[in-house]
């Protein structure tokens, strides 16, 4: 069957997997993993240029922009003010209004600062950005972000880079049920089954970086994640069977050999 495309603001995607560019062993492995993932959008961070070698090759040179959109992030920002400035710099540097809004509240857990995220989201929507905010798995915060005009909401499955999988599937399911904008599970997916579990909850897409980049074989893991996302999506659309406590035989219970003729 053909699935509906994923629509985020004015952008359409066939792939429901968004990947990152961080932590790869080399740019060549990253390129191969991107190709294997089938992703059509890739995140990048924004940092000061090295003034000792400013004209060398940059990350963007290793991204196939004919196939993938760039999703710059505001990672590393701890205030709405810094996140807003970073978003504006990203738009000027990369020519995209897409922004993954990330305002961190705590350096150890990398949990988002909800208050600062809401302040920045409001400003960036007003400034014409297509805002995709990273947020806790909090249905109320997601609702607020949607009301502010964000193009999607991106609750975490587990802390960034933890690979713990979907820690609170019930919250994610509630967020999806309440949201009118796409729900993209961002952060915490560690392996292909985690990806499938997240997609089976009905979310619209997944964003992951470390789950692929920190695998022993990132290219093979990218392929596995792609399959996991697709399997989970199909299972969601198919509608799973009801769970039951006791067995229910799949084979007929009549006509068994040695039984009395009926």
């Amino acid at each position: 069957m053909t699935d509906q495309p994923l629509v985020i603001g004015k952008y359409e995607f066939r792939s429901r997997l968004i990947v990152g560019t961080g932590k790869y062993p080399s740019m060549e492995v990253m390129q191969a993993a991107h190709a294997a993932s089938g992703a059509e959008m890739v995140t990048v961070a924004i940092r000061r240029i090295h003034l000792d070698d400013p004209s060398g090759k940059t990350l963007i040179d290793f991204i196939d922009r004919s196939r993938m959109r760039i999703l710059p992030n505001t990672a590393g920002c701890f205030s709405a003010k810094d996140a807003v400035l970073t978003a504006h710099l990203a738009r000027e540097a990369l020519g995209t209004d897409l922004i993954k809004l990330e305002v961190i509240g705590d350096a150890q857990t990398l949990y988002p600062d909800t208050k600062e995220t809401l302040i920045a989201a409001e400003q960036l929507v007003r400034d014409g950005f297509t805002v995709l905010p990273y947020i806790a798995d909090d249905p109320t915060a997601c609702k607020h972000l949607e009301e502010l005009g964000c193009a999607a909401v991106m609750p975490l499955a587990a802390p960034i880079g933890s690979g713990l999988g979907v820690c609170n599937p019930y919250s994610i399911a509630i967020i999806k049920e309440c949201a009118k904008v796409p729900v993209i599970v961002d952060a915490g997916v560690g392996t292909a089954s985690d990806a499938a579990i997240a997609m089976e909850l009905g979310v619209d897409a997944l964003l992951m970086n470390t789950g692929i980049a920190a695998a022993k074989d990132p290219v093979l893991m990218a392929e596995a994640m792609r399959a996991g996302v697709e399997a989970g999506r199909k299972a969601f659309l198919a509608g799973r069977m009801q769970k039951r406590l006791y067995a229910n035989a799949s084979s007929p219970m009549t006509g068994l050999i040695g039984s009395a003729k009926s």
Binding site: G22, K23, T43, P54, L89, A90, A93, A213
Partner: protein, 66 residues
């Protein structure tokens, strides 16, 4: 006069524009962006943008991240 560029204090000419400073630092236009005192300056304005003493200039580029 002095400006702080990416956190480092640097001596710049009294008639320095953003365009002249970026050219001197060999910063490519493609893929980069600049903020002066926390405000983004669009590329079209680099030539006319005169820097002042004590200005804080941030020059950024996309790097690997998730």
């Amino acid at each position: 006069m002095k400006a702080t560029i990416n956190g480092e204090p640097r001596e710049i000419g009294s008639d320095a524009t953003l365009a002249s400073v970026l050219a001197e630092l060999n910063v490519p236009e493609k893929g980069t962006a600049v903020a002066v005192n926390d405000r983004v300056v669009v590329k079209a304005e680099y030539g006319a943008y005169r820097l002042g003493d004590g200005d804080r200039v941030e020059i950024i580029v996309a790097v690997a991240g998730g």
